[in-house]
Symmetry: C2
Subunit: 285 residues, 2 copies
């Protein structure tokens, strides 16, 4: 029988039999696209030796098309759509799910793509701290009509462990840096190619230079609320995004489809290596 | 040959052959769910007498799973995901598409679901003006690190025409009222059932009562940026959302699946009637 877990119109996690189904979850990987999170589930099944030939991984949230969720052993792979509001709905429901399933010692990682600043395209950025569009390390939201500011602190040890995985693999550049999180992809990220643009190339470059000076090396659209909500829930959290272009050099992607595809694999290769390493270490101990 | 239109990583509308494919578009209907917008495309095909037995409507944006787009004669049906950032990416790209295709006299309607305030569930709300979470009729966004405030004015005549369609149909209650647009579904809408809640039922009721006093009768998550961007582009725009529950009475849906399904059809029935009426009138003139 199928159960709807992630659907903000009918979620009622308390009434479902979660401990049996989800109690063993130790790693949650989230990303924007349902298709990519299905692909991650297949990848991690292979990495962990849990792959079954011709297996179809069922989407646990199949009856909603708003999110997708796959479970492979101790790993959940969940899509979150685009932007802060979309990921925030998913995280509210995921955190309730983990609570009701009595999961302990859970590590959660957002895998994504981003625009880089001053990095070679294809560099993987492990976020030190998400910053808002004014380069402050905070997430501001409105609750009951009043502004509430939350910390976007992530787990520093986890970031260092992930950086070490990048060194183990030695397949691509991996750095720890600040990430700017915006509410808009075009004007909010100083792009010149949206439907509207009220500033010049020079204004754009000045803004990106200020971001660089604040330690920002990539820009995406979900990390701040992700960090804030994980911190409030005591989840060990990290953000791992590959840069697809250098925004100081342009606004549109210029790499070939194959090159972009290989870049997009990098966060999952890094995080897959991390999960395998942790599971092997826990078997030995 | 398939072309990617709505995908923020590879959009380049200027290079595609748009006039031939999209020049006849007069109505654009947008909604959160790709599944529902496919269903709307099928519905409007039937209403306009354009349905072909066993026809499959191709998703024009098939190679991205972030949005879906269907075209039925002069009507585009496009999904936008959840929340302001997600719909804003789609609208930037849609507005560029309409511009390059040299479309004129286009009407755009957002069809959606919402939480009601002081209305019977199932009431259809045609938005007078979207308001932010402090009940101001504005959309604030950050551009180059600075706050920019935009008007959320919608087309008053179009709202009245849609209200008249509700009267023509006489199948369900339809009202014109203000709509509150929030960045968060749980804490941002004073829900008590999210992963976190730092306020009481009384605080929630006080907040909803203030919204009611400001003329707000429903709450959703996309209308403010939709109104602002359509106004900047001179698109005739309306927001038509059904209320699925009365938020003063609860936070979770209590109606049966069948009842909710019938509520969800109402915006498309109303807008389908409007489109048919306009097309018939233009044939006669």
């Amino acid at each position: 029988m199928k159960e709807d877990i992630l659907y903000h119109f009918n979620l009622n996690t308390g009434t479902l039999n979660f401990p049996a189904k989800f109690g063993d979850v130790k790693f949650v990987c989230v990303g924007g696209s349902p298709w990519r999170m299905k692909s991650f589930a297949e990848y991690i099944a292979g990495e962990l030796g849990l792959a079954v030939p011709n297996a179809e991984y069922p989407n646990i949230c199949e009856s909603t098309d708003r999110y997708a969720m796959y479970k492979v052993g101790p790993v959940l792979s969940v899509s979150h759509g685009m932007g802060i509001p979309s990921i925030s709905i998913m995280l509210h429901e995921l955190i309730k799910l983990l609570y009701h399933a009595r999961c302990t010692d859970v590590t959660i990682v957002r895998l994504g793509t981003s625009g880089g600043i001053g990095l070679h395209p294809g560099t993987v950025v492990i976020t030190k701290q998400p910053m808002d569009a004014t380069f402050l390390p905070r997430f501001e939201q409105v609750i009951l009509g009043k502004s509430v500011v939350r910390s976007t602190e992530l787990d520093g040890d986890l970031a260092e462990e992930l950086l070490q995985c990048g060194k183990d693999l030695a397949e691509f550049d991996t750095v720890i840096a600040n990430t700017m999180c915006t509410l808009d992809f075009y004007e909010g990220q100083a792009r010149l190619d949206g439907a509207f643009c009220s500033y010049t190339e020079e204004d754009k470059q000045n803004y990106l230079a200020k971001a660089y000076a604040a330690g920002v090396r990539n820009i995406e659209m979900e990390s701040s609320v992700f960090a804030a909500m994980c911190k409030l829930s005591n989840l060990r959290a990290a953000v791992v995004c590959v840069t697809l272009l250098d925004r100081q050099k342009g606004d549109q992607l210029s790499s070939s489809h194959d090159v972009l595809h290989s870049y997009q694999q990098r966060p999952q290769i890094l995080v897959g290596h991390y999960i395998k390493k942790k599971l092997n270490a826990s078997k030995k101990s």
